[in-house]
Symmetry: C2
């Protein structure tokens, strides 16, 4: 929730990282808080998938003392907007000419395809060249199928994606991009 | 995925625990695998929410060496079925006369309310007296609002919920209950 300490911390984080285009996740999380507060959409980031191996009982609470990261089989964010199921991931690259596909797992692409088949909205939010784009899942899947390439050129993203506006509230108005593209 | 080792393990687990009504989560996870394989619905359990405090770099992978459990602010399961957003949690009780509400957090009830307002389907799957019921979110929220009680009587659940059939595949056919109740 939006208590002062947290907002300040997030704000500082944003200020520190903005120049090198990092912290896309934080911007999206802040946008999701805004959408929730304003009752516009309900979107949450899924917790990091882990396998817990050891837990100890502390004096006040249980503490995980050994756990491993798991490869995610779904996308990081999902929720509901105007009655529609939405499901997406956020990726950023420092590469200026193309977005490498290596950081999207095969299972995640499969998940994206299924979601679309079942009537959901699925896409990637891609941060490249200090710009942020919403690129539709179908366009991504078709691109991979048709080209068999390992990266998506910046030019392709610019031409086929919807640029997401950076604002104060919300930080990244990706819901507006959804309105433009899908609704 | 459905490789033999895992199924066997889960099956044994089910056999061991079935008499005391445990392992509801495992039954739902197995049902979700079935729905996914049969392309009926896409529902995943969210990973356990944790705050990672320390990570070490092993020879092969990163190992979490200190992490804490966080209180969930959403429900454990969400996904899409026939184009509809669905969002629910699974709870079991050994209490035979009523289901105590203490293990549903205030934030989770708030989440449930929001999901319904936005056009999603939200409910609890409740295991009580060796039976499993789907109890609609609106009914739960109304019950709490109207009675201010700290538990829901078994009789109320039986009368107002939809009993979920236990089968081989899927283990718990909660999608059938959704069909009956909502679609």
């Amino acid at each position: 929730m939006n208590y002062p300490g947290k907002v300040k911390k997030s704000y500082n984080k944003y200020t520190n990282y903005s120049n090198r285009g990092m912290d896309l996740e934080d911007l999206i999380n802040q946008s999701n808080e805004y959408y929730l507060e304003e009752n516009i959409a309900i979107v949450h980031k899924k917790p990091t998938p882990i396998t817990i191996s050891e837990v100890k009982y502390g004096t006040k609470e249980r503490i995980i003392t050994k756990a491993y990261f798991r490869t995610p089989s779904t996308l990081d964010y999902n929720g509901i907007y105007r009655g529609k199921y939405i499901d997406f991931d956020a990726k950023e690259t420092l590469n200026k000419t193309s977005f490498p596909l290596q950081n999207i797992h095969e299972h995640q692409l499969e998940h994206m395809k299924r979601i679309i088949e079942h009537g959901g909205i699925s896409f990637l939010i891609i941060s490249i060249n200090s710009e942020v784009y919403l690129l539709d899942g179908n366009i991504i899947l078709d691109y991979i199928k048709n080209t068999n390439k390992k990266s998506i050129p910046y030019k392709f993203i610019k031409e086929n994606g919807i640029q997401i506006e950076k604002k104060i509230r919300p930080r990244l108005d990706y819901i507006k991009a959804i309105d433009n593209l899908y609704l």
